[in-house]
Symmetry: C2
Subunit: 450 residues, 2 copies
């Protein structure tokens, strides 16, 4: 009898940790992902702001799994899953493939949600992939570059205003880093403009920043941000985004327009489109964020052989953080192994909260671990230590530590390259009418014109 | 009276070192370049093969010049130079600008030459910019990725054959690095293919590799390459390049076809198109490589206020290496300063040969310094030391040393990220019929469709 075939979709925290947890199982693992690397998403904002190189937060998935002979890694975009025949349909460009499975772990993650306003994406890229981060790096640095030779004061102010939508950890970290970039790294590099005067506006619909951290830490974070020079706009909803700015409506109904060339969207997530594929065939429910509502054992209703984990699964009390996906991955692997061994499967999945943290600026972070709240330097060192611990790859850990040390000591940033592709950017490509860039960002194929 | 205005075009070795040499001069320096960074071109092949991040070999030009208050850096593509009215015309996208000068230093470099076969570029990118290197990284790694799921043995062999055209230092280094990538880094990462069986073919029209190094070093280099597993094809001219391979004609007239998906062009240079602009207005001669034939003091005939330096200038006995551009830059700055001080300008430019070197593989390099020839480990350490010395930027020097140490110890490579943009690649973009990608690569503008 041939070995049980476990197919995993995705190379994020869910997919990678599921594969690793099956290392010693008597199964054949096939991991299919649309990128060649495992992305350490919590540090993406440091790639966007020039602190780290993309390689430091994204080692090759097949390198991580090289000493696991039962795992094969394939580069491809999954288009469809046939639940009846148990086949995953995927492709790379025009190479079409079908991979059969006995057990399937779907960990395809989530994209940015624009809450029904997908046209915002052109003007305010999200923060979900290396492509996103490198494009944002280009947009941020390009704004300063263009401002240097722009004489019209209105246009110049628009170039030196940066808007970050969403005050969760990613938004807070981006806003803080853009201000630090402007006030320390770039401070003495321009002759016509004063980079330290750059405005950074952080917007959220909630009444506080970092809502899941609670009111007290939210207030403290807000103070640190304001001391850094970040303008915090709460209780405010974004109603329009265009090339030149953003329109915001406050809770009291007043609207204001903020003129800004560079916008970042860090405001909401939307489960992978594969969730819809699964829901349609199984009758599973999707929640408001397009996430699949799974059974207590993380399987798809009516399909005990299919696990849905990570950001695309809706599981009570599990936040959309790395720890959620990792714990779910290990649980799914444990269940598969128990079934193979004909032992009792584990009880319903239970999330063990290991706390959450966000860094605001040099030497300043906030952390909430159970009832313990940390702020300032202590939280910052805790953040540093834990992030280094979780970065995959020995080389990455070493070089990241060095890059951080150099950045903190010199205030300089080592990774300020923007390619010409990125300098031209999504907007110019989309203007070509091909919509190429949007497709590229999703790892999709480009159809040749006839 | 206002200060003398010196405009410099280009941020390579010529442009950057000219700006630096004018640090204490009583002039206003404006450096206009189409990239935001100063590229250390000799290490570009390490970015293409995943050893270094792009930031490590390309610090921001304005960061390097931040403590030089008389220098302003502007991001833009120079379209035209009006020699009569002494004005440089440049733009960034649709922002058009004119910058007047009293002295002009043109150091716009060179692109890849396809010897009249520009259509080869689509299938065999050159090695001149960060965009090129990152695209080649994507092409190389993508070939292994696709081979892993390709079952047709002919197509698989085509994917695992890599052709490097041009056996100068860049070609030799690329060929060696691709073999090392295949035989050490990737060796245990695949399940369907054997990466160590990858063919690497190095082609040159000359009868030896590294022609400027002389016959003896050429033979030694060839032996090391062959021991590494690189097939060396000399006395051979490339007559056709297409998506699936390359056709080569040997000196004896026989032709052969090499089936290979991934091709790299490192075979010739062609001076910047600005050379044509200068020649047309001044009557200066262009040589076969489109380089401007300058006066003994590096000025344009009839225009003592215009210096042409670096890869776009044809100067007797000056090779197209960093040292040539650096020495010319310092000479031009010295001449400008002498004129300002009304002292005697320096005599005709004379190149001081500091030797040349190329690395072949781990612990193996060749160097020629005057009559001294070095090979093996000694040359390799000399190469290492000198390259570290010349990389601009303290942070870059430190992290490069660490990245090298990690690569040499672990055989792993830290920089294996390929963005979705790069994975889709130039070919797919060009198939769209827009020719976008080619334009992007040159830093040019994309015209929107009506």
């Amino acid at each position: 009898m041939s070995r049980q075939r476990v197919v995993i979709i995705g190379s994020g925290f869910g997919g990678l940790f599921a594969a690793k947890a099956l290392k010693h199982a008597d199964v054949d693992v096939t991991l299919i992902a649309k990128t060649t690397t495992h992305l350490f998403q919590p540090l993406l904002y440091q790639v966007a702001t020039g602190v780290l190189s993309e390689g430091e937060i994204a080692p090759a998935t097949r390198e991580i799994l090289r000493r696991q002979p039962n795992a094969q890694v394939l580069l491809g975009l999954v288009d469809d899953i046939d639940l009846t025949n148990r086949v995953v349909k995927w492709r790379f460009h025009n190479n079409y493939h079908e991979t059969p499975y006995d057990s399937l772990i779907v960990a395809a993650g989530a994209g940015q949600s624009y809450f029904g306003n997908d046209h915002f994406a052109t003007f305010a890229p999200g923060m979900k992939s290396i492509d996103d981060a490198l494009e944002l790096r280009a947009r941020i640095l390009k704004s300063f570059e263009i401002a240097e030779f722009t004489t019209d004061p209105v246009e110049r102010a628009r170039l030196l205003t940066f808007v970050v939508v969403g005050a969760g950890p990613t938004g807070v970290e981006m806003a803080g880093q853009i201000r630090e970039l402007a006030t320390s790294t770039l401070a003495h590099e321009f002759r016509s403009i004063d980079p330290t005067a750059a405005r950074v506006v952080l917007i959220d619909g909630a009444p506080q920043v970092l809502p899941p951290f609670g009111e007290s830490l939210g207030r403290k974070t807000e103070k640190v941000l304001e001391r850094l020079g970040v303008e915090v706009l709460l209780d405010s909803i974004v109603t329009e985004v265009d090339e030149e700015g953003i329109t915001v409506r406050a809770k009291d109904g007043t609207t204001q327009r903020i003129e800004a060339v560079c916008k970042v969207w860090a405001a909401g997530v939307k489960g992978s489109e594969l969730g819809e594929v699964l829901a349609e065939q199984s009758g599973a429910t999707l929640d408001r964020s397009n996430r699949v509502v799974v059974e207590p054992d993380l399987t798809l209703p009516g399909h005990p052989e299919v696990f849905v984990i990570g950001d695309m699964a809706a599981v009570d009390d599990v936040p959309g953080v790395a720890q959620g996906a990792i714990q779910e991955a290990r649980y799914a692997a444990k269940t598969i192994k128990a079934r193979l061994a004909h032992t009792d499967p584990p009880g319903p999945f239970a999330y063990r909260d290991k706390g959450s943290m966000a860094t605001i600026s040099k030497f300043s972070a906030v952390a909430k671990i159970g009832k313990i709240q940390l702020t300032g330097v202590v939280a910052w060192f805790a953040w540093l230590f834990l992030h280094l611990l979780y970065i995959a790859g020995f080389k990455q850990r070493i070089t990241t530590l060095l890059s951080w040390a150099l950045t903190f000591v010199t205030n300089g940033r080592s990774q300020r390259v923007v390619t010409n592709q990125q300098l031209v950017g999504r907007l110019a490509l989309e203007r070509l009418g091909s919509g190429v860039s949007g497709k590229l960002m999703q790892g999709e194929d480009v159809e040749p014109k006839q």
